[in-house]
Symmetry: D2
Amino acid sequence: MRSRKIRMGMVGGGPGSFIGRVHFNAAMLDGQIELVCGAFSSDPDKSREAGEGYYLNPERIYGSFQDMFEKEKLLPDGERMDFVCIATPNHVHFEPSKMALENGFHVVSDKPLTYTVEEAEILVKLVEKTGLFFAVTHAYSGYPMVKEARNIIQNNELGSIRKIIVEYPQGWLSLPLEQGDSKQASWRTDPKRSGKAGCMGDIGTHALNLAEYISGLRATEICADLSIFVENRKLDDDGNVLLRFDNGAKGILHASQISVGEENNLNIRIYGEKGSVKWIQQEPNTLIVNRLDKPIELRRSGNSYLSEIASYNTRLPFGHPEGLIEAFANIYRNLATSIQYKLMAKDIPEFAMDYPTVYDGLRGMKFIDKLIESNKSDYKWTKF
Amino acid sequence: MRSRKIRMGMVGGGPGSFIGRVHFNAAMLDGQIELVCGAFSSDPDKSREAGEGYYLNPERIYGSFQDMFEKEKLLPDGERMDFVCIATPNHVHFEPSKMALENGFHVVSDKPLTYTVEEAEILVKLVEKTGLFFAVTHAYSGYPMVKEARNIIQNNELGSIRKIIVEYPQGWLSLPLEQGDSKQASWRTDPKRSGKAGCMGDIGTHALNLAEYISGLRATEICADLSIFVENRKLDDDGNVLLRFDNGAKGILHASQISVGEENNLNIRIYGEKGSVKWIQQEPNTLIVNRLDKPIELRRSGNSYLSEIASYNTRLPFGHPEGLIEAFANIYRNLATSIQYKLMAKDIPEFAMDYPTVYDGLRGMKFIDKLIESNKSDYKWTKF
Amino acid sequence: MRSRKIRMGMVGGGPGSFIGRVHFNAAMLDGQIELVCGAFSSDPDKSREAGEGYYLNPERIYGSFQDMFEKEKLLPDGERMDFVCIATPNHVHFEPSKMALENGFHVVSDKPLTYTVEEAEILVKLVEKTGLFFAVTHAYSGYPMVKEARNIIQNNELGSIRKIIVEYPQGWLSLPLEQGDSKQASWRTDPKRSGKAGCMGDIGTHALNLAEYISGLRATEICADLSIFVENRKLDDDGNVLLRFDNGAKGILHASQISVGEENNLNIRIYGEKGSVKWIQQEPNTLIVNRLDKPIELRRSGNSYLSEIASYNTRLPFGHPEGLIEAFANIYRNLATSIQYKLMAKDIPEFAMDYPTVYDGLRGMKFIDKLIESNKSDYKWTKF
Amino acid sequence: MRSRKIRMGMVGGGPGSFIGRVHFNAAMLDGQIELVCGAFSSDPDKSREAGEGYYLNPERIYGSFQDMFEKEKLLPDGERMDFVCIATPNHVHFEPSKMALENGFHVVSDKPLTYTVEEAEILVKLVEKTGLFFAVTHAYSGYPMVKEARNIIQNNELGSIRKIIVEYPQGWLSLPLEQGDSKQASWRTDPKRSGKAGCMGDIGTHALNLAEYISGLRATEICADLSIFVENRKLDDDGNVLLRFDNGAKGILHASQISVGEENNLNIRIYGEKGSVKWIQQEPNTLIVNRLDKPIELRRSGNSYLSEIASYNTRLPFGHPEGLIEAFANIYRNLATSIQYKLMAKDIPEFAMDYPTVYDGLRGMKFIDKLIESNKSDYKWTKF
């Protein structure tokens, strides 16, 4: 049924990259994708070193993404990469994405989608024009219990949603690491490479995406208070936001990279008239479900009582923990499956289209802009 | 060393009262206080019924608090009550408190202190004038692990505080219970009996008190978004608030009575430059302490490694859970001990003065006013 | 309806006693019992000091329990104590219990009931002869969620029980504290004061009582491996036991006082054909309930969905934690209520008779004997 | 540095296989191994179907493992598989393992190693004779926090070990699934395919392996009580075992497949003189560490304070959960790395040799034999 393995090229993911390796592991996990080429670093030596680490054919280790797209485009059908994975710092998302689309390659890009809203809109248009697939790795939405939560709300089990609390506290930037030799800290706190926002762009956008993905609602007004706590830091390292949603629900979103002791504690609670759901990324295989005057219910991944969509996105039986790589891999698997269906000229099934797209990426970019605007405003509410 | 048992009278706490019984249990626990009289209800039959349930001398079961103060005042030194416990709905806090002070009785009052800020200020002046003791039962500050958290911050173990998140979600008012026969729901959602605020007055004030008690900081600006989610309800049943503190720290306070599935989930996280603390009221005997790049630390009540103030407020060895009645009892014990020292004309030791006072009550009343003001304002920040 | 306050005398509970204070707090909590006399120590000065701390009439502070029973017996009906609380080390349980019964006083005794099985049998006969009430403080059975678990099994919600695992690990005797100045460690590790067993008598008996109380089953065969890990200790400080129950269920019971890091971690899991329950003493307000192919269910104390017996034994609404003193107080309340009914010559309702009795005490004593026997045996199974 | 990708063949893992897919995912994750051939089922059609699902060259999809070994052996160096993964039911472990070794292929076999101890001993001898690598997937030892625990004990941070409790409860065989159409239940409860033991062979051996791997101790005496709870089942579905270790430590091991509500709850506690560790497979990224009179310590995977061996076996930063596939993948990665070093004729570094071997497999087989022996014995202790 599956046509063939799907061929991936990579941009970024060279030595010292954290997220590049995660993309790679996630893409490899199911054996449905093979890495065939890459431009892993703007330094050709580093790119070659990385490519060799991936056991690539040296001829397909490129010194620049421009070079990669030009050369790959010329390869025959049976060899040419199908899609590109973009795992570079934020300011190098737009150019390779644009060039990939212009040259006929599908894209998986890390978030935020681009450096500016304008760039994001250009990509949206290109996607619409080319009909190519474009996934953005808001990977937390790939967890099966996140999909279970979404399913519960789609089934109206909670009644009308009243309140959403989404948190994304981290503590790893509590000290001025960017003044030392941390590559991760350095680019994430540099406006030239990270964009208008620091913490809120890096992780605040994940929090919004998760809230909107699960709830099916859209935030329409925000009230933001962003902070820079570490001296001489140039971008926000913490932010607290009040939200109002399109159905009248209220919300809170807060994210932080100076919350000492927090690791990567993305979590969400959604309260409706008849029930609520709670999910915590650090214990991702459990979903807490509450209903009026009933015992607390813990739904656990891998059980037969879960929704089809949750089961489809789970690889192991209950009690065998899955983690972030598996969630990430669900995006890759769904995208690769979509490409396979396309190659076979078949209709793409709904379950294969379940991944964050360029539109989610654009929304994240707009959110960053609005946060900056609200943070500067003396008025309470900023339309979103 | 202890002079004698301290004698308590009660106002409120008749049939159907939840908090009255808690006050009673807490006062009894240590055997340092005896109940000698009460005006348990404005209905004399109900008052008598309640008093008999407490095994009181029928002559000292009163039909009104006015009657109680007048009669008790005339009793001889060896019989007269020493202090009054006020456990009535909010609109009946001020009058008995005022009358108690005017007649020479110490007071333990439930919160909020009064119905208006002006009344609260009158009580403050009366306390200052009479020198009587006045405790307000922000009882969550009575937990030993809360005191441990406060001690950690006082010792500067966390460095400068950057962020405080305090939550108080409940779900019990998710349905319009006040339109049925729930006595608790009825008065708490009635502006005439509850005051200007509903949820925020009932529990939001606890959250602020806890944050300020542990951190030693004061909120100076607030930005509030209050909601009424249940149709025809007259007071807020949910509120989200951004905070700014006097040292530059940022914060979030949210409280709710429509968060289905939440029981009484008061919890707080305080992040400083060097570490953080986290405490959850529903598992009160554990304090989570984090320090930069160290394993998470769980401090548990009853252990020898805890501070003196935590140990002083603990009755049982480690692993033997204590609950809310014990936390409540710490306020009663400290007040009773203060009275005993006063009776013996001795200086009152610091540990006995560790309970929330009329000043905390006043601050809570002001907070309610400011929340209402901020909620109506188009501007982001309201000075507090 | 309640006749009058019930009057308690105490034996033991002097300076340095841990459990004496717990008994006192538990007895006081509900205001249904008053302490009227006591023989708190075999040292008259210490007894007086303790009695004064309890604000007792000096005339009713006795230098010995013998003296107490003799004098109290002669007091008029309206003054004489109704029952005695025995909170002494193990070797001083039997004599005061026996003398109390012989003089017409009801008894609440700490466990183990006596020093030997023979003594326990004497007490059983005396109880049967006198018709007096005799409670033994296996207090963990007083928790509401323990009663909920028992109720679930009585209702056959789990089907036939297959497996029981009950654990009681502590770590406080990991070092040879008895060779220092710890009063608690000293008598608990001394065969002359503690009895035939150390750890297993002190806490292993609680574990068995809990398993049999909740399950309604009786252990009929045991296979024990007891250990002394700390050098020069005279009694077991750890024990592992296989169990077989009267219905064919299998089980494990293990207790320890050398499990470093464990506080007082009594916990139990009971598995039936159709479901299971799990309860952990250190988080006593939650009961975990599982049913075949269903989400995990967390039942929480204070909720309306619980059984009547759980609700009856709960004082606070959901989310307001209760602890060990409240569980202990349930025994006192039920005994005092039984006495009140008896005083009124009324039938004692079933809920008031729900406390561990002299028969539970006897069973604990036999368990200790059988553990010692099994531990010495080369054969796998010892009949119980 | 790495010579080349390592080539894997598979035996088993056809349609309906659970563990085969886990082996595959684990092998793929790091991109260090490629699947080149397989004999996925004894039914050639099913084998071909499975092989196509893995995108294999049809010429290298074999109808039997015998065929596979014979054909692969003849392939040139640059194509021939390097090792075989054996993911068949238990009774088909020995033959392919033996044949692989005899034909010069390294082996990764699922556990239990073989059907009988005698077969296991044959494999040990073949491994010793050939010098080939042989990994057995006691995969739980692949978790980084398990390795952290082992490291703590190797560093003597806990002092002499006194007590070990290892549990492996599951509930999935609570009903007679083998009498329906469950392929997994069918072979696991069939003595002809599973071996002498059911539950104890399937998961009890994992529990023993984990206890011995972390503690560095060896069980020397056991006392077992095995049960069959489900009617007409032919093999044990539950077992309780007392243990004694070579250093004098005591222990308990229990495993179950009829513990309703338990998913895959392998967990272990090891208590020493000075401290203890606790690890729970279902929350694998946390290790609980206790030391005398210190707060509880939670060590979390990915943190800089962990041991080198834990860090080496972790792929993601703290707070990004890893699961069982990653633990499994550590075995594959280490084996593949060992092969690469061997191909390069270099000394194999210690970290690459950290996986369970044929000796662990043999020990598991002996444990099964001794459990059966002890279970039948009237004597308490059976030497192991």
